[in-house]
Amino acid sequence: MNVDFVLQLLLNGLILGLIYALVAMGLSLIFGVLEIVNFAHGEFYMLAAMGCYFLTAGAGFGYWGAVVAVTAVSVCVGFVLYEVLLRRLGGRDFERSILLTLGLSMVLQNGALYLWTATPRMTTTQYTYESVVLGPVQAPLVRILAVVLAVISFVSLYLVLHHTRVGKAMRGVAQNRDAALMVGIDPRVVSRLAVAVGVGLSGVAGAALAPVYSVHPLMGFAFLFKAFAIVIIGGLGNVAGAAIAAVALGILESLASGFFSLVVVDGLAFVLMILVLLVRPHGLFGGGVRV
């Protein structure tokens, strides 16, 4: 076995895991604050990637321009999503929230299929053909940039959650909704912001991944599979747990892909999820769950 090969797999896994983390953290944040599992989350990721493709291919945007534009639009979409749909659900009806976001996902996914067909498209930016050599391993520049974007998002999310009033309020609502109401936190403001940030994170993920993989209307659907497994492994509603589980899963998958067949790699997330549920139902990192 070759050490360079394993190092390369580790690097690829780290990149993959960080992208998983972007999507999974958004999901986990929305669940923690609103008790809503956003089944349309993968479609927002897909739409962001599509948007990135059309901005770079059609409108002549550069890489950074497209990333910033797509992220900004995603945050706005999150606001609108909360105000138009999620706000009407009110409280405790968990199954209805799933049906609602599932309906939204059907509309977005099939609408995108109808408009753009299932043909995969490649996003080319000014960085597409450059790569970075790090000692024995190398990675395309767009992958490194995806990592940079992910790390920037994590750091800013951490700073917001721990060092701003509204971020602390978000964590307060996630920990105990009733107690948060009692000390005067407006759930509507907090929820709206959580959805905006969550969808915004999936926007960053879509924009960061569009130049790395091919872009097509069914991509969100496949990605959601991993994101949900990660959210369960990390503990429902536990944002930091989701991030750690995502990176771990990315690395494990990448290592597995070097030595096993494709079906093992894809099944890994599911098997780990079931194991975690059987052994530690509240997630690998415990806490953060209100049942």
Partner: protein, 320 residues
């Protein structure tokens, strides 16, 4: 309203006999589609409407039944009857594993894990080439023969025979589900859904009842898939297409979760009308999505819930 079930049964009997009078292959195909969706939607109704668990794994059970039957018949030379039964059991086992693991945490986890399981099935069907033949699927399934005691063997060929078989199957399943929903089990499930701690304090074990409902639902759904693939004569990863799941959800949500007749009516309506109107497939699902959103926001109890509320209001007004 005692007459309603009798009237509905009569109407269904007439409707079920109609294809034989017309004798057209398209009508037979439409009829057997309705039969399949009646089973699928009623199975989901037992899990969601009664046990209160939003199972997104129904399409996985359907596909496992389809693949299981096809593999047993083609690779192991089984005949169709036992293969369908065993594939149904396979779906049940899958359902119980998913439900047991996720219900340890919560209903929330069950919904998520069941969806992840469905997605996993798509991937396995596509990538585990040595078992499932990969994306090309298993085409050219043999036309099955059913040996009934005392009758000559019946070789099924063409939509007419499959319509008869699926009609018999659907009626049997619907009778079974109707019995289950109306007996103590169904009432206990409703009680657990409405107030779990209260049901528990009456000595009922929610987990056992929930597992039972999922197991039964997975079994009938899986067997429906097993029969259906022989009508298609091919099984490929599209048997796990979320089209089936989304259609089931529409039927249950619009029909009225927890209402046997509401869901059955919606199943007939939503499998017949869009097909007769010949909607494009992509736009149909966009429309279904919009219907789902509208139904969730505007009428949480579905059509059956609306009717029930109207009836209650009339009853109150009559006694004022």
């Amino acid at each position: 309203m005692r007459r309603a079930p009798a009237l509905a049964t009569l109407a269904l009997a007439i409707a079920a006999a109609l294809p034989f009078l017309i004798g057209d292959a398209y009508i037979y195909t439409l009829g057997l589609t309705i039969c399949v969706f009646a089973v699928l939607a009623s199975g989901l109704n037992l899990v969601y409407g009664f046990a209160g668990l939003l199972s997104l794994a129904q399409v996985a059970f359907f596909g496992i039944g389809g693949y299981g039957t096809a593999i047993l018949v083609v690779d192991h030379g089984w005949s169709m009857g036992p293969a369908v039964l065993v594939a149904g059991v396979l779906a049940t086992v899958a359902g119980l594993v998913v439900a047991y693991a996720s219900l340890r945490l919560s209903r929330h986890a069950f919904a998520i894990v069941s969806l992840v399981f469905s997605l996993l099935c798509v991937i396995v069907a596509r990538d585990w080439v040595s078992l499932t033949r990969g994306p090309m699927g298993m085409p050219g399934l043999p036309s099955p023969t059913i040996a009934l005691p005392g009758l000559p063997p019946w070789q099924l060929s063409g939509p007419r025979d499959f319509y008869i078989l699926l009609l018999v199957y659907a009626v049997a399943v619907l009778l079974l589900l109707y019995r289950v929903m109306r007996c103590r089990i169904g009432r206990t499930l409703l009680a657990i859904r409405q107030n779990e701690p209260l049901a528990q304090s009456m000595g009922q074990n929610p987990l056992a009842y929930r597992l039972f409902s999922i197991g039964l639902s997975a079994w009938v759904t899986g067997m429906a898939g097993g029969i259906f693939v022989f009508h298609l004569t091919i099984v490929d990863p599209s048997i796990f297409d979320f089209y089936y799941l989304e259609t089931m959800l529409i039927m249950v949500v619009v029909g009225g979760p927890g209402s046997f007749w509401g869901v059955l009516g919606a199943a007939v309506f939503f499998s017949a009308i869009p097909d007769l109107l010949r909607f494009s497939a992509d736009l149909r699902l966009v429309l279904y999505g919009l219907v789902l959103i509208a139904a969730v926001l505007a009428m949480p109890g579905g059509v059956a819930g609306l009717l029930r509320r109207r009836r209650l209001r009339r009853w109150r007004e009559a006694r004022r």
